[in-house]
Symmetry: C2
Subunit: 230 residues, 2 copies
């Protein structure tokens, strides 16, 4: 009698890597709220508590998942930039890779965007962003604050969008209909500015807002660099 009749479930021998992989697949397939130790056990064909032989607790798994997607973003950026790429286009590459990660890892990003593991992929991302900002000729204090402005903006904006994307479909619909309730305020009195912009409020897209924000930050940095440089 086979012990593997339930579709998934294969590896008898667990490892940190196989658990992280299974967790990411589970989240991608069924959302962030499906990530439970028991579901993971079923996924891996193993008793749920075997998990605790490889991670001290669930939070450690969440941080490991965060490292995995930070690593993915870092690798993706490498494919988008060349040595002669301008600093503006390097920032755009990080923005693009971060946004693309939402499609692949929204659940994982929602769980981890406000967390820090201190792992290698995170150190790589810090180094990468600092190296983009450093040649602009700011003071060390200013270099660091510009780097953090970019890092926090990427994390916070993609994290917020990922949080929404990883909501249960029914909650997502609830929020979308709440927006249309706001924007369809046609009730005669109140909210004149909203009523003047209903069409635009409904049609604007999240990706366009994200890109517009990044361009605004790039322009601001360029203006500061010009002032500081000469």
């Amino acid at each position: 009698m086979s012990t593997n009749t339930s579709g998934r479930a294969q590896p008898r021998q667990l490892s940190k890597e196989s658990i992280v992989q299974a967790a990411i697949e589970l989240i991608a397939r069924e959302g962030a709220q499906a990530l439970t130790v028991r579901r993971l056990g079923i996924e891996l064909g193993v008793d749920a508590t075997a998990f605790y032989r490889h991670f001290p607790d669930k939070d450690a798994l969440v941080l490991a998942i965060g490292d995995h997607f930070a690593g993915w973003v870092y690798e993706r950026v490498q494919t988008l930039v060349a040595p002669e790429t301008s600093w503006q286009d390097q920032i755009r590459a990080v923005a693009r890779a971060s946004w693309e990660a939402i499609e692949l890892f929204s659940g994982a990003m929602a769980l981890t965007f406000a967390r820090t593991s201190g792992g290698e992929p995170e150190r790589h991302m810090v180094e990468l962003l600092l190296e983009i900002v450093e040649p602009l000729g700011f003071t060390p204090e200013r270099t660091v604050i510009v780097y953090r402005m970019l890092a926090d903006a990427f994390l916070a904006l993609t994290g917020m969008n990922a949080t929404f994307e990883s909501l249960e479909p029914s909650l997502q619909e609830k929020d979308l209909s709440a927006w249309s309730r706001i924007y369809a305020v046609q009730s005669g009195k109140g909210y004149p500015a909203i009523r003047r912009h209903v069409k635009e409020l409904i049609s604007v897209e999240d990706k366009a807002i994200f890109d517009f924000t990044i361009e605004t930050l790039i322009r601001g940095i360029a203006a500061m660099a010009e002032e500081a440089g000469k």
Copy 2:
């Protein structure tokens, strides 16, 4: 024999408002993860399931909490602005009120910053921000995208900081020590840019980064308004 010997617990008669109030106090006192239907029942001196006579489910409570803090931010902004306040200072007032809300409502903000209820306080905030941006003379499309850039930046950045602030103390310490592990990369090889900025990376403060980001966005908007206006 009194039925109210346990410190808290007083109202026999529940209402949406008393539940939201108790939930906010509970979160402020014990963190976002302490908000459970059962704990709320104890807090209110009532069987846990009485909750379901006033809210369809826990998510509805979360959205009501979100409305409460959106209302607080809106009221706070009203005390910070006058009719003659410049658009720049109006944006700074919203930023300041949003940041102050983290101290008071970090747990509530962490739960709700990526959600929309469509309630009155949210409509007020949308109207407020649109009215700040509208006089700058952009096209309707541009007006809306600038409004959303500001709204999303406020929500995402304060939400990310609130998420961290509302973490259990032990997880907060874990993340802080992870940062110092990143920044103390003194291991001879690798991460040269990080090593060049260790001092600044350690000393930079989240509030300063938030303020710097807002100022950069304000500058960017001003530059665009100048181009568009003439």
